[in-house]
Symmetry: C2
Subunit: 210 residues, 2 copies
């Protein structure tokens, strides 16, 4: 049965799952969530996911949330993006790091800098988050030296998790050319058959609201 | 062979792993990391963990980092704290949520409010983080209604991950009595055989530096 991904184009966490399905030729369709009009904070969305977050993945009557869990489900079902036997802990290590230190920072910073009314943007918070983001970029840049992919020899869900926000055009304190190893790795992802930009994979983007 | 946990008492992420080992009777010993004198930002620590974070788990010549990965290793080795068959995705879902939305916020907020010199504490950042923490507490409080444990019928690593910072005495914007379901759940954890306070499990605490 066709899987559903409740998502919106601007959601980098949703893009992780959408991209995994695009790369593996998964049978899925997006369901638009009107995040910017508060849909995640009210019913019926909260019954679907009391955490109040996108993405939500529905398949065969089952509901899953948290991009890291959905990514692993897609990998398990398709037998791809998993890495080799023995890579599992290394894959999870980077998915966790991403949630805690990388996408976790970026999602908030990008929201504050682009999707809040200019007069409500908290300058001190943005500067603080950008400092943390630079520290995280240094970790990832160092890790990618001499490596094509984050964990093991092949592309895995760890790559998709860490990369997702970096494909968006809105500024959040990251300039791709400042980080040559990250830049090379992102180019590697973009050259995979099936890769698509987030705004081409999921409904909703800033132009709709302009 | 006795496992080593590179850690320090104030590290809530380390406490997750230390508590899992305490509850399962694991053969382990702590190795003190002098975080407050910069040990995580220089060698030899960075060679052990280029992410620059505690905890680091060493066993039989293998090195693991990220508390969520270490927790799952301990669960797998002991056959405990895993939940029932079929609980795995639900356990991971809350471990990820914790890293992203709960401990991830708390660790930073507690650091800024307690371990930075008073004149360097960024008031706007602290207020912002506390707002996000209250939103996360509402999610957890709602989830725990009618439940003894976060995932499935038994205590799992998801409980240890989400609870760890809440046992610390330093203020970070959480008052246990404000959240009756969380309070009841924490009492349940504290009554498990083997439970210990973080400052009784790991070396280093604020009193040492007073």
């Amino acid at each position: 049965m066709t899987a559903k991904l409740h998502c919106f184009g601007e959601s980098g966490h949703s893009y992780k799952a959408a991209l995994a399905m695009a790369l593996t030729g998964y049978d899925w369709q997006p369901v638009f969530v009107d995040f910017f009009n508060g849909a995640c904070r009210r019913e019926p969305f909260l019954s679907l996911n009391p955490m109040g977050e996108c993405p939500v993945f529905e398949e065969d009557g089952e509901v899953l949330t948290q991009s890291g869990v959905i990514l692993h489900r897609i990998a398990r079902r398709t037998g791809r993006l998993f890495g080799a036997p023995g890579d599992e802990e290394e894959v999870w290590r980077w998915v966790l790091w991403d949630n805690h230190k990388f996408s976790g920072q970026i999602g908030v910073t990008r929201f504050l800098m682009n999707f809040l009314a200019p007069e409500r943007r908290p300058a001190e918070v943005i500067a603080f988050q950008q400092g943390r983001l630079r520290a995280a970029c240094r970790v990832l840049e160092g890790h990618l030296k001499g490596r094509d992919w984050i964990a093991g020899r092949d592309v895995t869900v760890a790559d998709l998790s860490c990369a997702s926000y970096l494909f968006y055009p809105e500024p959040f304190g990251f300039t791709r050319s400042d980080w040559p190893e990250i830049d090379r790795w992102l180019s590697g992802l973009q050259s995979l058959p099936g890769w698509k930009h987030p705004y081409d994979l999921m409904p909703g983007n800033p132009a709709d609201r302009a």
